[in-house]
Symmetry: C2
C-alpha cells in the first residue's frame, strides 16, 4: 500500500481505461472496463444511472480502479477509496472523459446537467485513498 | 450475463494478462494484474501462497478475472465463478503460465509439486460460471 505520487499521477494520466471494481451489497464484486480521467486525487468515470456499478457505488460508497499499461511487463496499480455518484456540475468531467474516448484534440462543449440527466448520464467519482498492487512502476 | 463461447475462448487465449478480483472476508474487493492460462472452462493463475489474493480465494471460494484487449475500442469481458487454490499436480499449469510470461516457444520443463511448494508457488483455478460486462466482443 502506498500513496498517490507524481509518478503514479503521470501513469494515470498516460492511460485512458481501467478495470473498475464495485462491491454490491451481499454479492460478489463486479468488474468492468471504463474510461476515466484524473482530477487531482479523484478518478472520474462517466456512466449511466441504470448500470449496476452505479447502484453499487450509491449503496457502498466505495470503488476501486486497476490501471495497466498495455505493453510488457504490464506496469499496473490499483487505486481505491470512497466513491460517489455525481449528477450536479458534471458537464466538464463528462466532456473530459468523452475527449479521451474520442481521442479529440479538445474536449467537446460541456452539456448542461439537465441535458445529461435526460440521457441518464452520471459521473462516478473515486477519491484515491489507497494505492495497492503496484507492479513494475516507479512510486 | 452470458456463457463461455468459442469466440470468448479465443479471446481469452489471445491475451495473457487480466485483472483478478477477490472478495476478502469483511473487507473491500481486491484487484491486481495477473498472467493466466485457460484450460477448458478454467482460468489458471500462478501465485504464491502468502499473497492476499490466495488467502481471499481460500476463504471465499470465488474470484473474477477481467480481460481487455490492449487496443481501442478495448474489447473486454469479465469471467467469474468458484475458485480454489491448488497445490497438487500444478507443475504443468505453472509451466504453461511461465511460458506466457516469458513468451517462450515451448513451456519450461514442469517442476515437481515439492519443488514448487518449496518456493511457495500455488495455482489459483477459477471455474468460469459467469461471463459479464462483455464489451466490443462477439459472443
Amino acid at each position: 500500500m502506498t500513496a498517490l505520487t507524481p509518478a503514479l499521477e503521470d501513469f494515470l494520466d498516460a492511460h485512458v481505461v481501467g478495470v473498475v471494481a464495485t462491491a454490491p451489497q451481499g454479492a460478489r464484486p463486479r468488474q468492468s472496463v471504463v474510461y476515466y480521467v484524473r482530477e487531482g486525487d479523484r478518478l472520474l468515470i462517466s456512466s449511466v444511472a441504470d448500470r449496476a456499478k452505479v447502484r453499487d457505488v450509491e449503496a457502498s460508497g466505495w470503488a476501486s480502479l486497476c490501471v495497466m499499461a498495455p505493453v510488457r511487463p504490464f506496469p499496473s496499480a490499483t487505486f481505491s477509496g470512497r466513491a460517489e455518484v455525481l449528477r450536479q456540475g458534471i458537464g466538464p468531467a463528462t466532456a473530459a472523459v468523452a475527449q479521451r474516448v474520442m481521442q479529440a484534440a479538445e474536449p467537446p462543449e460541456p452539456q448542461s446537467d439537465e441535458a445529461l440527466a435526460a440521457v441518464g448520464r452520471v459521473i462516478i467519482a473515486i477519491t484515491i485513498e489507497r494505492v495497492s498492487a503496484v507492479s513494475h512502476l516507479e512510486q
